[in-house]
């Protein structure tokens, strides 16, 4: 028996901000879930299972938050699962939910991811004072900045490209009412002259720290037929992992990322992603990761990704818009960031992205990565049901 086609019929996000002091974690996730149910025209009783994800427990210090959040998410009497894959978790969580529908285990699943970074300390949560080890010298930016330099050397990229990405994404965010950073006065010159934190990465080329949640309702064909708004259909989804460090690891273009994209394209029958995909929501926490992932995901040959960015191809009105929502550079509730990419890809093919809609988007890719570039999760969604 073939897999059940999976449709996204409800999407809800909170307005992402630096600190939501007015709500508990339960209140935060509830907001996103209620908006997703409203979008789908469904109530709590219509949900068969709940799949939730967030970054490591140490971030907020709530051990097993899925237990505490069961009543806020209407999960009482239903299966509730928690997914863990570091920064990619929002994507992996959506894929676990999609697989439950595809396998006909459940018909309608609520999936949700969140982070309340204002009540968290990601730096502390990731840098435990392990005995006998030298203290970490540089933090998260310092972890990724050397890989950016390695990319620039390998691709021969001019050092101006990172600022172009940051400026584009922050301008796109102005069209997205849910985005955290709305900097109306931003200019390219301001990005270029912002402080160099971890040379070659500037302050304005790094992601913010946000409080936010994102929820989606996934359902089967019968559920999609009842949807009040056009659904997005899942044409392919995959996850891949690799060790954090190993001899031969390519941090600039990890093999697990290439394999994950290839699997998704095979499922979706995509042979030329650059021509066949209309919009991309990729996980870009530091601006230089846009050209790096363009290559890793097969949109450009090795060493050529920065040329697409430089030529404006990835602009909202370019022929391969990347992060029309403003991306992780404008909004980063860590655990939710991957799911926001997946949800924004779905909004594009549903024609419900509002001001940041890509005209006529029929196929869109959502992408997440996490850990030391070791977990990858992606899905490809379309406006039409998958063939077959």
């Amino acid at each position: 028996m073939p897999e059940e086609p999976v449709a996204v019929v409800g999407i809800g996000q909170t307005k992402h901000v630096a600190a939501r002091h007015d709500v508990s974690i339960a209140g935060l996730v509830r907001e996103a879930a209620v908006r997703a149910l409203e979008d789908a025209g469904l109530g709590w009783a219509d949900i068969d299972a709940v799949v939730i994800g967030k970054a490591p427990d140490f971030f907020e210090g709530v051990m097993m938050p899925e237990l505490y959040l069961a009543d806020a998410l209407g999960a009482v009497g239903k299966p509730m699962l928690r997914v863990h894959t570091a920064g990619s978790v929002g994507g992996s969580t959506a894929l676990v939910a999609a697989n439950l529908v595809a396998a006909r285990v459940h018909r309608t699943v609520l999936t949700l991811a969140f982070e309340k970074q204002s009540e968290s300390n990601a730096m502390w949560g990731l840098s435990l004072p392990v005995p006998f080890q030298q203290p970490l010298l540089a933090g998260a930016g310092g972890f990724f900045a050397p890989h950016v330099r390695a990319y620039m050397r390998r691709a021969g990229a001019p050092d101006t490209v990172g600022s172009l990405v940051a400026y584009k994404d922050r301008r796109n965010a102005l069209k997205n009412p849910y985005a955290h950073i709305h900097d109306h006065d931003l200019t390219l010159e301001k990005v270029q002259s912002s402080p160099m934190l971890w040379d070659p990465v500037r302050y304005s080329e790094t992601c913010p720290s946000s409080d936010g949640a994102c929820a989606m309702i996934l359902t089967d064909r019968a559920g999609a037929a009842r949807s009040p708004h056009p659904p997005a259909w899942v044409h392919g989804g995959a996850m891949r992992s690799e060790p954090t460090l190993f001899a031969g690891k390519d941090f600039v273009s990890p093999q697990a990322g290439k394999d994950c994209a290839a699997d998704v394209y095979r499922q979706a029958r995509i042979t030329d992603p650059r021509r066949e995909i209309d919009a991309v929501e990729m996980y870009v926490p530091f601006s230089w990761y846009e050209p790096m992932w363009l290559e890793n995901l097969g949109f450009a040959d090795e060493g050529e990704g920065w040329k697409l960015t430089e030529a404006g191809v990835t602009e909202l009105d370019g022929d391969l818009p990347v992060n029309p929502s403003g991306g992780v550079l404008s909004t980063n509730p860590i655990g939710a960031s991957g799911m926001i990419r997946f949800a924004e890809a779905a909004l594009q093919v549903r024609g419900r992205a509002g001001e940041h809609q890509v005209d006529g988007a029929a196929r869109a890719l959502g992408h997440a990565y996490g850990g030391g570039s070791q977990f990858f999760a992606m899905w490809l969604v379309g406006a039409e049901p998958p063939p077959g």
């Binding site: 939501r20 002091h21 007015d22 709500v23 508990s24 974690i25 339960a26 209140g27 509830r30 709590w44 140490f58 907020e60 210090g61 009543d71 806020a72 998410l73 209407g74 009482v76 309340k116 204002s118 009540e119 968290s120 300390n121 502390w124 949560g125 435990l128 004072p129 392990v130 005995p131 006998f132 030298q134 203290p135 010298l137 540089a138 933090g139 930016g141 310092g142 900045a145 050397p146 890989h147 950016v148 330099r149 390695a150 050397r153 390998r154 402080p195 160099m196 934190l197 971890w198 040379d199 070659p200 990465v201 060790p243 460090l245 190993f246 001899a247 031969g248 690891k249 941090f251 600039v252």
Partner: protein, 315 residues
């Protein structure tokens, strides 16, 4: 089995919590010696109150005030209190259903011994002398002979002057950390200022620091290989923000260094050269400081830079 190192690892952090409307009312109420519950859709009064109905999932906001007296529904004796528990003398963990509530609250009961505790016994709240809007505003429960209240709890607006909207919840975990055989050997070699990795018997790659197993082949590693001391900077960044817990002046260079003979780079600081002159391919050597367990930093050797092709697989 060779000597394996071991040391305490304490993980401790004061997390903050925004309370939201219901928990804010509950904890502010405790500060004012008022215990609030919330009425669920089926009429049951839940104490402590929750924001969402456990059966219907509806939002709950109908607050009521319950009595400071109640009945023990079950209990367990704790003969040896640990740090940060509510009492420092032996006590009973109790579930108490306060008069007017339909559910029980977890707290502690001050009693002389387990013989003085029984399910069904009547108790009352002993308030803390200093109350701040926290569950510890209830110092504990104490035995109190009284008849259960039969009356319906009265509605409460949940509004108080100067409400508590957030709390701090310190978390502390005590571990014993054991780095294992391979890393213990690596750390001990560092004391002799030698860097010793391990070679995978399958792919022949040399891992520094060693993990005792090859992450790609999945086989144990045992063959020790001394690498370095010199190496090549494969890539780096210049750190311009000062880390709170590090006594290093900015800017400094944080580099990936492939020691000669190693098959992957380790991380270290580069000094002895202006930060803006560090480059990929720079040849470096370790500088040890007296009595330290780790290399303090790496400095240029003065050799010609390594050709990119010789280290590009290690970037």
């Amino acid at each position: 089995m060779p000597d394996v190192l071991s040391a305490p690892l304490v993980v401790e952090f004061p997390f903050t919590r925004s309370l939201g409307p219901v928990q804010s009312a509950f904890l502010t109420g405790l500060r004012e010696r008022t215990v609030l519950g919330v009425r669920a859709d089926n009429g049951t009064v839940l104490v402590p109150p929750v924001e969402y109905d456990p059966v219907t999932a509806n939002e709950l906001r109908d607050l009521v005030e319950v009595a400071p007296t109640g009945t023990v529904t079950t209990w367990a004796w704790n003969p040896s209190p640990r740090r940060d528990q509510p009492l420092d003398t032996p006590f009973a963990w109790v579930l108490v259903r306060l008069d007017g509530a339909g559910t029980a609250l977890l707290h502690v009961l001050d009693a002389p011994g387990p013989d003085a505790v029984r399910t069904g016994m009547r108790v009352r709240i002993r308030w803390a002398a200093t109350r701040v809007g926290a569950i510890t505003d209830i110092a504990c429960f104490e035995p109190y002979e009284s008849e259960p209240h039969g009356s319906e709890p009265a509605s409460h607006s949940g509004e108080f002057a100067e409400p508590v909207t957030g709390i701090v919840t310190p978390a502390r975990l005590d571990y014993v950390h054991t780095p294992g055989r391979a890393q213990s050997a690596y750390i001990k070699a560092l004391e002799e200022r030698r860097t010793v990795g391990e070679r995978c018997p399958s792919c022949r790659k040399v891992y520094v620091p060693p993990r005792g197993a090859c992450p790609t082949c999945g086989v144990a590693t045992a063959e020790q290989v001394e690498v370095g001391p010199r190496g090549t900077v494969t890539t780096f960044c210049i750190v311009n923000i000062k880390a709170k817990n590090l006594d290093i002046e900015v800017p400094y260079v944080y580099a990936h260094i492939a020691l000669d003979g190693a098959d992957l780079a380790l991380h270290g600081r580069i000094a002895g050269i202006p930060y803006d002159q560090v480059r990929m391919g720079l040849r470096v050597e370790p500088v040890w400081s007296e009595g330290a367990r780790h290399v303090d930093h790496y400095r240029p050797t003065g050799e010609p830079d390594a050709d990119y092709d010789t280290y590009k697989e290690l970037v």
